[in-house]
Symmetry: C2
Subunit: 589 residues, 2 copies
């Protein structure tokens, strides 16, 4: 894992994942008898911390009282239809591969039949039923295996679904209900080796089933990093990043996935698509490889990639800034972008997320309480900040000592112009340490009938506040329209900045207690929010992709001829629709 | 023009271009009776300079004596076959457009039938004949015009060839000899307006026929720049940059064309391919737009693009470095890349190009001579540099005052580690000022039977010296094999650096006096050099593209399935092959 601060030294870490929920089984949020909350295990910095403010914060935000005795339990015996079995394919598979490379185990079939979209996927598998479940799971152990299984599927009219970390939140892994062929989920995670590291040219050939955690651990041993840190880093895979067109929090330094990857190998039914020699920037005509980014499982199996790697930074330094309000923070980011002094990562939290951070704090010790009081005094009295307007930015700087020193000086100098004051390295560090742990909160709160999801979008600078306001308004309106309990939680943060705009990442949630088919209500609200985002000037997605969840918005995104071009491309690469997952423009109603 | 230092203040500048040679008619290199050389006109900083060292340098390098009385003159009355006329198309065209929008004028037809590839195109049009000449030239004045002409061509089975600045050096504008349909060159340069500037989000909507010079002049008036500076800036167009996948010298700060362009509009026979809303980074599935980069005229007409723009930099500062040898310079660039302190542009010249710079110097005044002597003393005596090994880098830094100051300090600090010493801002500035003027030298020397061309390639860092050595050896071997006069001129410079490698830009030339069909010999040598580049670890092209010149190397570049994917894509976007220019994988023998 890139950020070792997240691992407690000496803690036993076993990477067993939940079948359907997010993350590893050693970690979950639990409520103590005094209504404080603790994170189990020793995996994260937050693990073991007793948080008295958590439940009160949730209750205040949602304007509901959580009944901690009323726990919504997942189905113990999850329904799965009998598998569709293509006998000829199964015979051929058995003749070609050892039994250790495939399974029709019901549990594995269920695991491989969904991603992590809250309402449409996780809610359904936990509390209801999936419409379609994979009929078999296959584990390629080499590129040749991938080629062979694609050929078998083509020969026997079987549908293949590439499966990486299973962390999609766009219903990209949701299986098409109408698929009558046998569906085989291709779990790529046995292809998890770094094949070579070219230290002189700073690149590595890596199998695409490697998870971010494995990749960074292996590179770190050699003194390198790829620098790609999506929030799903621990679970998601290189191939998944390419297929989703992923973004990492440190993209200012290392780039997004399309900047990091120099070459991709994809096995399609028509053959292997790749560049024969990996190269820095080229002008070689149209590059089919560029289409593999965002291919979302529609075209083939991504088996390998050549990625850029970097020496571990000489210096890594955290920082934070506190602004009088969100707008001041946005204005500061805007100028930092102009001034060319963007830290590896800088994330701007709105007031709600800023306060959420406090809700995750442990019971203060006397000294901590003192410091906190002092800080509070400084912020609220001396600077005259309004606690209900304060916004904060967390910062990671990486590079040579000179680079980081220069960046730090410039960032704080510019921040001052917008009323920003340094909030300390500790708060910055803390913000990043929370990243992986807070992903477990969704499933924790679901136990208490609270549904939550995140939405992200790209927005030109001039529309940032418009989009935030439009969403705040829409979410309230929808909440009332559906007559939902309490009030909605909605909070934006800016996670990425670009020359012409930013990525806004919204967290949305509400208490669904007593609501009938809450997952349907949630999905309907989500769709209306996406339309509001588009109407206000935002995009279909910054890094989660389209999948099935956002298919309806493609006609607002691409011209008809462009969509047609994608369809014809698919037709040529995969005329039989072996890769029939049906995402993006291939998604059916 | 981005770099105003290139324009003499007060000089009358009329942008009339040569019909077939490079550049503007007010500028050419002429020999004076004393064998010194002068650049005519007042366009460039070099204009008017009397250069006594130029001819001696060329003679020394080529090991020949130039007979300045033996001038090879271009054909006065250039042959052009009778045009193929598709009567139905011509009638429809005449009914749809005013006569001012098309011409069958022989001169215009010839002008629009080639690019600037030395041997295969310019040599042939000047001294021989073009195999195929456009039958008509059409000038769209709006996007609707473009849509209409594409529809007419499709309806009447006419071949369309997009034409931008005509500066291709990959035979991408060479018309297919076997094309029996009427060929209409579509000159895009009347579509040269900036449609809008979004100052808040730093982007502009620009018609694709705008030249770099027009673009930068218009942006500069508003206080902005696009920062894209290919050596062809004065002549080449935005649409051409996209179609070629161009690179600019300041890409470290502004990116290459694929980084600069946020959205592209292309008119294909199947409709308009574009993203409906221009956006910063997105994850929206496969993006057909990514394929338009490097489309090389094969798919449609690029009519518009949304590009990123930047405020004119607060500070622009030149610099230069002198290294004991080329390898030391390469090593320094390597470390600068690691240290994250790359100036907007840094170019490394080998010893030959370093000396070439001196050959372009004017007759020294006393003071200049004194300074030059001092410098020489310092370089050769104090530092012990060998004048036949010295290598130099020219630098442009742009940004805020703080940014430039930081960069400058770091660059010189790191350069010291490699024996690099500051060569002064004047030499750096001079290096960049020469960029546009030296492009005229090819045509000047052609008059005296010297053929010259440039080749560029992408190379991983570890192969830089291998590729340079392989080319030096191969060019000598070929020179001898063809029994050519004197010796070849071959000189590399590094024009772009990347995390994993660089772009090497070779200049090659030889005296072809007395050689039969020298253009064929040149082409044959060029092909063998490209194979040597590939064998030694270089790529098919960094920024010139493939066109027809490098078609044979595509099977060494892309996998068969990837090539097939491109072919099917073309088939779907343009089933009738309206855009029949036949470049890249569509090139015929």
């Amino acid at each position: 894992m890139a950020d070792k601060s997240l691992d407690r030294v000496g803690a036993a870490v076993s990477d067993t994942r939940y079948d359907h929920k997010w993350g590893f089984t050693d970690t979950c949020f639990v409520v103590n008898p005094d209504r404080s909350v603790t994170v189990t295990g020793g995996r994260y910095a937050l693990s073991g911390t007793e948080m008295p403010g958590f439940i009160p914060f949730v209750e205040e935000m949602l304007d509901v009282r959580l009944d901690l005795d009323d726990v919504k339990r997942e189905c113990e015996d999850k329904p799965a239809p009998e598998p569709v079995v293509n006998q000829a394919f199964c015979r051929a598979l058995a003749q070609t591969f050892p039994a250790s490379q495939y399974t029709s185990d019901r549990r594995q079939r269920l695991i491989h039949s969904h991603g992590q979209t809250t309402a449409d996927e996780v809610y359904k598998v936990l509390y209801g039923r999936l419409e379609r479940v994979a009929d078999l799971v296959f584990y390629p152990e080499s590129e040749e295996d991938a080629v062979k299984v694609v050929a078998l599927a083509q020969a026997h009219d079987v549908c293949l679904v590439p499966y990486g970390g299973g962390t999609s939140v766009s219903c990209a892994l949701k299986l098409p209900a109408g698929e009558t062929r046998m569906i085989v989920a291709i779990d790529m995670r046995r292809l998890n080796r770094i094949e070579w590291i070219d230290k002189e040219n700073f690149r590595a050939g890596v199998q695409a089933g490697i998870t971010g955690k494995q990749l960074e651990a292996a590179l770190e041993k050699e003194g390198f990093t790829a620098g790609h840190e999506p929030d799903s880093l621990e679970l998601s895979t290189l191939g998944g990043w390419i297929a989703t067109n992923a973004s990492g929090m440190k993209k200012n330094r290392y780039g997004n996935i399309e900047d990091i990857v120099e070459n991709v190998t994809m096995i399609t039914p028509q053959g292997t698509v790749e560049q024969l020699v990996s190269m820095p920037r080229l002008s070689m005509g149209m590059r089919p490889q560029h289409l593999l980014f965002g291919s979302e499982g529609n075209l083939g199996l991504i088996t390998r990639a050549v990625i850029k790697i970097y020496r571990l930074p000489e210096v890594k330094k955290y920082g934070s800034l506190v602004f009088p309000n969100f707008k001041a923070g946005v204005d500061c980011l805007y100028e930092l972008t102009r001034a060319g002094v963007l830290p590896a990562s800088i994330r701007l939290l709105d007031n709600v997320q800023f306060r959420f951070g406090s809700a995750l704090k442990p019971r203060p010790t006397t000294m901590e309480a003192l410091v906190a009081q002092l800080q509070k005094f400084f912020l609220l009295r001396v600077k005259g900040f309004d606690p209900h307007e304060i916004s904060a930015a967390t910062i990671v700087m990486e590079g040579t000592a000179a680079e980081v020193a220069y960046q730090e000086k410039q960032v704080y100098r510019i921040a001052q112009k917008y009323g920003g004051i340094a909030g300390g390295a500790g708060n910055g560090r803390r913000g990043y340490m929370l990243t992986y742990a807070i992903a477990y909160i969704r499933d924790f709160l679901a136990d208490y009938h609270v549904l939550g999801e995140t939405y992200e979008t790209t927005v030109p600078w001039s529309k940032v506040l418009d989009v935030c306001n439009a969403i705040a308004q829409k979410v309230d309106e929808q909440h009332r329209a559906y007559n939902l309990p309490g009030r909605p939680y909605i909070s934006p943060r800016i996670t990425q900045v670009y020359h012409t705009g930013v990525c806004i990442y919204f967290t949305h949630g509400f208490c669904a207690k007593g609501v009938e088919q809450p997952e349907e209500v949630f999905s309907a609200i989500e769709r209306s929010l996406r339309q509001s985002i588009l109407d206000a000037g935002g995009s279909i997605s910054h890094h989660h992709g389209v999948g099935k969840l956002r298919r309806d918005f493609m006609p607002q995104t691409l011209s008809p001829a462009a969509i047609q071009m994608i369809k014809e491309l698919k037709q040529s690469a995969d005329p039989q629709n072996v890769f029939g997952i049906g995402n993006n423009v291939f998604a059916k109603k």
